[in-house]
């Protein structure tokens, strides 16, 4: 038999077996689907969470406070220096009266602090938003130093503590997600392997007979491998479908809720969808391979 013919034979046999023992197939597909559903759920959660953190990170700013009574018309040098690096996305000016109003709004309990002054009590400032991904630590430090040394600048407040904290939080969430994902994937593969192994025990007699009438391992295993592949593929598709169904069903509720509203707003991206189904297929195949090791039969 040529390889092409053999593959055709495998696919056909596997499909036949899938239908003829639809009960066990259903069980295997269900198990895989459940495992992948959980996996996909976390993938979605992780994707949304990391997007959220990226959003927060993008709000990080450097604030350049001028000395009291500095006129914003006299700070062109600072303005152009602040705007020069590649990572800067925008420079906003905050006048002294604006600063006072903000303070009153933010800290009503101590609002008296900013009242009753002859001059504006708070200095004007520049709010420089930047893309933390483009930042190079070294150049950033140097730039902050230059800004600080300008005569009209009193203080440069750098949000990078905040950014670092977020960075860390993101890494922790991603790490936790990864660890969780690994545990779940391991669990899924173990479960799938268990099921296929049980199926193999179930069909052990069948395999023994094939071996006894002269089937080589290649022809013996082929259909079982492809059967595992089909089951994994089907399981992946079912999981994807269920995930999408759940997403669509929960979406209206999510709009009313704070956490769900920010976390559950996008479905898995295309590559992630392909990944999910692919993992199913590979898991099914691996399960079949794992469960048909020679000594296992």
């Amino acid at each position: 038999m040529t390889l092409g013919k053999a593959l055709y034979y495998f696919a056909r046999e596997a499909l036949l077996n899938l239908f003829r023992s639809w009960k066990t197939s259903l069980l295997a597909v269900t198990t895989i689907a459940v495992s992948l559903f959980i996996g996909g759920f976390f993938l979605m959660l992780a994707a949304n969470a990391s997007r959220l953190i990226e959003d927060w990170k993008s709000e990080a700013m450097v604030v350049v406070y001028f000395a009291p009574t500095t006129d914003l018309n006299e700070v062109d040098a600072a303005r152009s220096l602040a705007g020069s690096p590649a990572w800067v996305e925008g420079v906003d000016e905050v006048t002294a009266p604006q600063a006072r109003e903000r303070f009153r709004a933010s800290f009503p309990s101590v609002a008296t602090l900013v009242e009753g002054w002859e001059e504006e009590p708070l200095p004007a400032s520049l709010e420089v938003s930047f893309d933390p991904l483009l930042v190079e630590d070294h150049a950033f430090e140097a730039w902050l130093g230059e800004l600080e040394e300008l005569p009209e600048v009193e203080l440069v407040d750098d949000d990078r503590d905040w950014v670092d904290q977020l960075e860390l939080a993101l890494q922790l969430v991603l790490g936790l997600g990864l660890a969780l994902g690994a545990v779940l994937l391991g669990a899924a593969i173990l479960t799938i392997a268990s099921v296929i192994r049980l199926t193999a025990i179930l069909y052990q007699d069948e395999i023994d007979v094939m071996r006894l009438v002269g089937a080589t391992e290649f022809y013996l295993r082929g259909p079982f491998y492809v059967e595992g592949l089909w089951q994994g593929l089907l399981g992946g598709l079912v999981a994807l479908g269920a995930l999408f169904g759940g997403f669509v069903a929960v979406q209206p509720m999510a709009e009313g809720s704070l956490l769900l509203g920010t976390m559950g707003t996008t479905f898995l991206a295309w590559p992630q969808q392909v990944l999910l189904v692919g993992v199913g297929a590979v898991a099914g195949l691996l399960g079949a391979i794992f469960s048909l090791r020679r000594e296992a039969i």
Partner: protein
């Protein structure tokens, strides 16, 4: 074609199923294998098929030492042997036709040829009308005939049949043995394990008689009833 040299088979539990058995079967011979229940017939046949390894001794099949045969070569040994198992061993998820044509199919025979071959062989055992049934939908005798058809389909160099007519009536048994004789006349070496003394007597072929794992007779003269009886008595079969 098949030679046993001092072959012993002891099962893990300690049961000695074959005890220093030696014999030789030439190419194209027709040999009966008999002996009481538990004498070691099935065990002997399973060693020919390399279904199991002997505890001690050498076994040659078709010039190859099956004891030292590498794993990857085993299927090719088995393809040259048609087997009727005592417990049939049909594949329940495959139809009668698929069971019978399993070997031709994995050997890559065209589907048209498979069709002709499969139906022709099923016709010879009288089961063409059951081609699309599954084994569990068949009567005991029908299952046995499917097993026989599967053994014959590939025109094997050696035919091994273990109690092939235990579920068949006399007329059908006669026809099956007629088939075996035909395939034997075309050059196939045939070994049949059976309890059917009348048939052995009538056939007048060579007979190997096992008893408690020992080969107690190897002759081709017609066996007298009196000659068989002592060795066939039950109760001391080596347990």
């Amino acid at each position: 074609m098949i030679s046993f040299f001092d072959v012993t088979k002891r099962f893990p539990g300690g049961q000695v199923a074959l005890d220093r058995v030696s014999f030789e079967i030439g190419a194209g011979e027709f040999v009966f294998l008999t002996g009481p229940s538990g004498a070691g017939k099935t065990t002997l046949l399973s060693l020919i098929l390399r279904q199991d390894l002997p505890t001690h001794g050498r076994i040659l099949v078709n010039g190859r030492n099956v004891v030292s045969l590498p794993r990857t070569k085993i299927p090719f040994l088995r393809r040259s042997i048609g087997v009727v198992f005592q417990d049939f061993r049909l594949i329940p998820r495959k139809t009668v036709f698929e069971n019978v044509t399993y070997l031709p199919r994995i050997l890559g025979l065209g589907s048209e040829k498979q069709r002709t071959l499969g139906y022709e062989t099923l016709r010879r055992v009288g089961l063409a009308h059951k081609a699309n049934a599954f084994p569990l939908e068949l009567s005991g005798g029908e299952q046995q005939r499917v097993a026989i058809a599967r053994a014959l389909v590939n025109d094997p160099a050696i035919l091994v049949a273990d109690e092939p007519t235990g579920n068949l009536d006399e007329d059908l048994s006669d026809e099956i043995f007629e088939l075996f004789r035909e395939i034997h006349l075309r050059g196939t070496t045939v070994i049949v394990a059976t309890h059917d003394r009348d048939r052995i007597r009538r056939a007048g072929q060579r007979v190997l008689v096992l008893h408690g794992g020992r080969l107690v007779r190897d002759g081709d003269a017609p066996v007298e009833n009196s000659e068989l009886e002592p060795v066939l008595s039950r109760g001391e079969n080596g347990g």
